[in-house]
Amino acid sequence: MKAAVWVGLGALAALAAAPLVLEPYPLTLLLQFFAYGLALLGLNLLFGYTGLLSFGQALFVALGAYSAAVCTRKLGWHSFELVLGVAVVVAVVVAVPIGLLCVRYVSIFFGMLTLAFGMLFHSFLFKFYLVTGGDGGMLVERPSLFGMRFAEMDKTMFLTRPFYWYALGLLAVGTVVMWRIVHSPFGLHLSAIRENARKAEYLGVEVRRLRLIAFVIASAFAAVGGTLLGVRTGLADPELAYWTHSGNLIFMTLLGGFSNFAGPLVGAGVFIFLQDSLMSFTQYWRLVLGVVLVVIVVLFPRGLVGLAQSLVARLLRRRRDAHAHRNA
């Protein structure tokens, strides 16, 4: 456990130092990683810990991006803190009724319901273009961070310095918050529900209420991720809500390993960089990603982190055995 904390701090320090070392383009990729990392922390609470596979998480990511667009572009509210607040509130307001409807079901039905809601939102974003901007989306203007506008910086500078550190900070905070949630009694109850819902209920755990809370928390995290994405691209567009985007979120979670806390973060990072390099390398990047997903699902279901853990465990065991052997 201690090791995990050191690793985390080390990663944080490395990421914080990145702008001093890396070129702007990889830094924008890292921004994407922060955004997806947050969204995935939420998805993992829902899927890894509660056992609910949502195929509509992209809905809340889109909601976050569109909240940022509406706030900065239509309402003129540029304070990013305010934007974050609005995004979270909107996500919660939407998540509660949807969650109430969806958490009554499990596995396939939950997945299909969430997919339907996600696509409903996508259709709405597309069709009601007078309100949402339709296929062109809605512009997200540069926000102010803690009141500072950084007007003298151009967009790229803004994104790769002040906004980068702000986003990294958000991710760090989000990680700590999620860690506390997962290790709280609430989190333990969620795991119990995932293992055996009926038994949990028998033991007094209010299954539906807790699932709903997990759903709402996940949606809030997704929305925060969405605002980061919106600012980075400067745009909120309907494709953010398409079902294959939800599919990608799940892919990332699985890639990293969903039964593990750090899994989704690793998955997000690997996926983003993998996709980017593949796209420049070959037209057939979907094929490669598909094959990677097959390999993960069939051979390494515990994801990259799970794989790393078992390798480490095996190494340690071998060392211990060798040690014991020598002392025998």
Partner: protein, 309 residues
């Protein structure tokens, strides 16, 4: 030159009926194709409890292969009037894809459903790029070949004969499937395995073989649907992803695992879209999603479904 019809002309009952029939036929045609794909989904879910996100990909595969098959056959002397058989041949021939894919899915069969879903999602990605590799990135089509069969009807109500053929084919498949499941020995085996896998296995049913057959049958229904529709439209890479949502709507409304449900669901979705386009275009897809959500909430098993929530 006609300068415009007067109000009374347009509102006369005869032309209203014709218009209604026109829209209805369009909806039924779309429903016929949806049914084929959805029936495949239902079969596979009913027996193996797997939801195949790649159903749309098989549909696209059928469409592209159909084009190649027809082009090749015509170039090698097949009379134009028989192109339909080249299409059917392509759709059925793709059955070879079924067993290997099923073998892949079998590796995660005992695991959480999420894994199966994700494996089929991976297939969506893979198949799309395979299609891209073989046929290129641009949409392909067969020109006006399907009009070779001419039109049926006269004047205001003209329908391409080909469309009626496709509807007839879908009906045949529906009836055939129904008979197969109820009357034949294998059909009964299927239903038994669907009901209770363990007991069936102890009773000597080779569950593995059943699964392979079922999955292949499901695949073929999808590829056949794609092959049959392609002459009236085109094959494009986006087909696979777009169709999945509609196919899902069909199985949700009809009820998971039920062939009868696939018929009803397909008709519901096809007709809803057809009428929405004419009367309420903004609601075209929205109406379908709303109905899906309503069904999932009020009657999650769908109209004919057996799966419990």
């Amino acid at each position: 030159m006609r300068t415009g019809t007067s109000r009374s002309e347009r509102l006369d009952p005869f032309s209203l009926v014709i218009s209604f029939l026109d829209i209805l036929l369009g909806g039924v045609f779309h429903a016929a194709v949806l049914f084929l794909v959805a029936a495949g989904l239902q079969l596979v879910f009913g027996v193996q409890k797997i939801i195949n996100l790649a159903c749309g990909s098989f549909y696209a595969l059928g469409a592209y292969t159909g084009i190649s098959a027809v082009t090749w056959a015509l170039a090698h002397g097949l009379p134009r009037g028989l192109f339909l058989f080249a299409l059917i041949g392509a759709g059925l021939g793709l059955a070879v894809v079924g067993p290997p894919v099923e073998a892949l899915l079998r590796t995660v069969y005992r695991r959480d459903e999420a894994f199966q879903l994700l494996l089929t999602f991976a297939l969506v990605l893979i198949i799309e790029d395979v299609l891209r590799m073989i046929w290129g990135a641009n949409p392909q089509e067969l020109g006006n070949l399907y009009m070779h069969y001419g039109t049926v009807g006269k004047g205001a109500l003209t329908v391409p004969a080909y469309n009626l053929l496709v509807i007839a084919a879908a009906l045949l498949v529906a009836v055939g499937l129904g008979l197969f499941l109820k009357r034949t020995r294998f059909g009964r085996l299927l239903r038994a395995t669907a009901e209770d896998r363990e007991t069936s296995a102890t009773l000597g049913v080779e569950v593995g073989r059943v699964y392979t057959v079922v999955f292949t049958l499901g695949t073929v229904l999808g590829t056949l649907g794609g092959a049959l529709v392609v002459p009236t439209a085109a094959a494009s890479l986006d087909m696979s992803v777009d169709l999945v949502v509609e196919a899902f709507a069909v199985v949700v409304i009809g009820g998971l695992g039920s062939i009868r449900g696939a018929v009803v669901g397909a008709l519901a979705v096809g007709l809803m879209r057809a009428f929405a386009v004419s009367f309420m275009p903004e609601m075209e897809m929205l109406s379908i999603y709303l109905v899906v959500i309503a069904v999932l909430i009020l009657r999650p098993a769908g109209l004919f479904g057996k799966a419990a929530a």
